[in-house]
Symmetry: C2
Subunit: 248 residues, 2 copies
């Protein structure tokens, strides 16, 4: 059992209206990379958001009283806070300088995935409005271009409740199941596994981050040789339902 | 930028007193695998625990009143609960059938990492007493055997607060830093990164899980070609200190 992870270099800077699938295809070709059946294409959220115009001009943000207050007490840019609140359905924690929220998609993360990084000065990026749908669109187009059977994961970089630092998570999935479900199977010793249901889409997101890095301008990575669980899954399937949640 | 991940097959069943480093070395050799400088060796907690005798015979467990009570109300085996409590310094959540605790090491996970899987019937495995020290011992011995510069990560499979399923996390680290720290560096657009500090040891743990699986008997994986951050790090560095924790 083995697989490979490699980046697609030479992607151009993405702006609204760009065809991400076509640009991935072109960059791969110009690097001599040929797609293979069961490749997983891992795409950074940022380029999807920019292509979809999910970008806000800071000077256009109209401040609410609440955003100004949070900005002052948490020492955050109130315009960023305003944009975060617009993407938020529920505030989970608001303490010191952390604003942990549930987004309209249901994901729980800091600042609703909104940030200033890897976008022009004076702009803020949002998460895609429907990252699973974005993943499906890019994957379908890439399959048509390559005539290969592909899976695609859109990722973002988030913190964790009890662990320092951040890792990449899957926020959009297409062409595969996000879980490898072992429940009902037997372990090496023959015992039945009762709870083991691995969130492989998140593990793949993290693995791809190792290649992407944060400053190297490699927003797209291919995972080749991993026999991913096939099916029509979504990253939204990974969100723990509120009624099963012990920490919200 | 690219790297490879592959399993070392043919590891024997591990029992107390086994020399894990020697057995990894022998299994690699018999598979024709030669170690290279900067290989990361990723080892499943279970084999380390068994080699260190961190195994409890179920019939030897003496039940406390509290464990019996929790067993009844949470529909868990009270002997498992008793063993979990012995490994616990603080109960974080006790609700429905979830027992989320802080272990004596400071890690937050379900059931203190204690379980019945991949061990003989009638036994329960605990986490290693000091997984960072276990990692260092195995890594130092493997470096001596191979004359190569290696990093080593011990992993376990845990759930997450807001996401379904489980992923592998790093519980022991040796020969590398657990973080790739981008703070103070610039992103692709030239903005300074203020918070980005990637927990690469956890991402590597998850990537390795994709190869190990849960039922295939491949407890050791090599990550080759990833330029890991060098230094004398520990997995305990990843634990969020209680005073910075918003969810404990």
């Amino acid at each position: 059992m083995s697989f490979q992870i490699f980046g697609i270099e030479g992607m151009p800077y993405i702006t609204e209206g760009d065809d991400v699938a076509q640009l991935i295809y072109d960059a791969a070709l110009s690097n001599g990379i040929e797609f293979e059946d069961k490749d997983i294409i891992v795409v950074t959220q940022k380029i999807v958001s920019k292509a979809e115009g999910r970008v806000v001009k800071v000077e256009d943000v109209e401040l609410s009283t609440f955003a100004v207050h949070i900005g002052e007490t948490m020492k955050k840019d109130p315009r960023l806070v305003e944009v975060v609140l617009g993407e938020t359905s529920r505030i989970i924690r608001m303490k010191r300088n952390s604003l942990i929220v549930e987004t309209h998609h249901g994901h729980v993360c800091a600042n609703a995935g909104v940030d200033f990084s890897n976008v022009e000065e004076g702009y803020i990026t949002l998460l895609p409005a429907d990252p699973d749908s974005s993943a499906r669109n890019i994957r379908d187009k890439l399959e048509a271009l390559t005539c290969k059977k592909l899976a695609l994961i859109i990722t973002d970089t988030w913190g964790r409740a009890w662990r320092l630092g951040q890792v990449d998570f899957a926020i959009g999935v297409a062409g595969m199941l996000p879980f490898r479900d072992y429940r009902g199977e037997r372990d090496y010793m023959g015992h039945e596994l009762h709870v083991t249901n691995i969130a492989v889409a998140d593990e793949i997101a993290g693995a791809a981050e190792l290649v992407k890095g944060k400053s190297s301008g490699v927003p797209v990575v291919i995972i080749r040789g991993y026999d991913y669980p096939e099916g029509d899954g979504k990253a939204s399937n990974i969100i723990r339902p509120l009624e099963e949640d012990l920490f919200r």
